[in-house]
Amino acid sequence: MSDPLADLAARAAGEPFFLASLLAAFARSEGLDDAGLAAALACPPGKLTLLRLCRAPGSDPDEFWEDVSRVAEHFALDAQRLAEAVKRGRVVVRMQAARPAAGGFLLAARDGEGEPPNRPPEE
């Protein structure tokens, strides 16, 4: 039987509450497997399961950076890399949700709209 915690993290990818959902969307958009995702985040592969089970960062910019910084600090990750992956994941999720109603290229033009600005997390 596989690792029950990893199985739980895989299920969490289907729940917007979890960071897993955004990391899965990011990985899909980049064609990454687990090893690729770990490399993109500069995250030891053994930490991916718990990272996925964290709550997704809030959407308010302050809250977003607060959450990303906290998660990054806990897992000793680069907050900027994590933030980029989360923001990309969010855009992908939004595009997928809107796809039935609009053309993909129009949505692509809105890529990044409404995402927290790029800035380093506050110390």
Partner: protein
């Protein structure tokens, strides 16, 4: 039935995790899952050894996912988090088995695999008096710990602690509770965070380790 190896965390540790989950800690959900999944699976395995492990794992997963997304469903005043999750997993297991029974029409999988005892075990609380006693002790430990932390809090912190325990996640509600709604939003959030951080320190310092 006494939960066995791997051990469930103490009621105090459970309460601290619950408060972090209801607060603004994005890592808390991962820690809850990591801390409780193995004990839950161990408990379900000991209680329903002849059931397909897939059912037990799915039930434990559903109980944890539901709790971390809606922590307000758990009331620490009524008992330990471990007991709550065991009850939730048992309920989810029963639902799974019912669904499975419907799926296979009359070929219900559970009366056969557990000698007809599963329905009875799943439908109610722990059937053993010792199990009830342990749960009462855990609930009392949980209440005593919460009361001890409250006594070491200021009135403002107590209001925030109660909201955290209740699983409140909206920052505006916390801002209202500490009377900072007149400040700019970012400032409100900072003030709320300061109070929450103080409470978390009290919780982690005040929580005696289990055994």
């Amino acid at each position: 039935m006494r939960p066995s190896d791997p051990r469930f965390p103490s009621p105090e540790e459970g309460l601290a995790l619950h408060v972090r989950l209801g607060g603004d800690d994005p890592v808390a959900s991962a820690e809850v899952c990591q801390t409780y999944l193995a004990p839950l699976l161990g408990w379900l395995g000991a209680k329903y050894p002849r059931l397909d492990p897939h059912f037990r794992q799915t039930a434990a997963h559903e109980a944890l996912m539901a709790y971390v997304q809606r922590p307000a469903g758990y009331d620490p005043g009524r008992g330990d988090l471990g007991a709550y999750l065991r009850m939730a997993a048992r309920g989810d297991l029963l639902n799974l088995l019912r669904r499975e029974g419907r799926h296979h029409n009359n070929r219900s999988p559970w009366p056969a695999v557990e000698g007809g005892e599963v329905a009875g075990n799943l439908s109610g609380e722990d059937e053993e008096p010792s199990g009830k006693l342990i749960k009462d002790e855990e609930a009392e430990a949980c209440r005593a710990f919460l009361s001890d932390v409250e006594q070491r809090c200021t009135e403002e912190e107590r209001r925030v602690l109660r909201l955290m325990v209740a699983g409140e996640r909206r920052n505006a509600v916390y801002a209202e509770a500490i009377g900072v709604t007149g400040l700019a939003l970012a400032e409100q959030n900072r003030e709320v965070k300061k109070v929450k951080d103080r409470i978390m320190k009290r919780l982690t310092r005040g929580g005696p380790k289990h055994e």
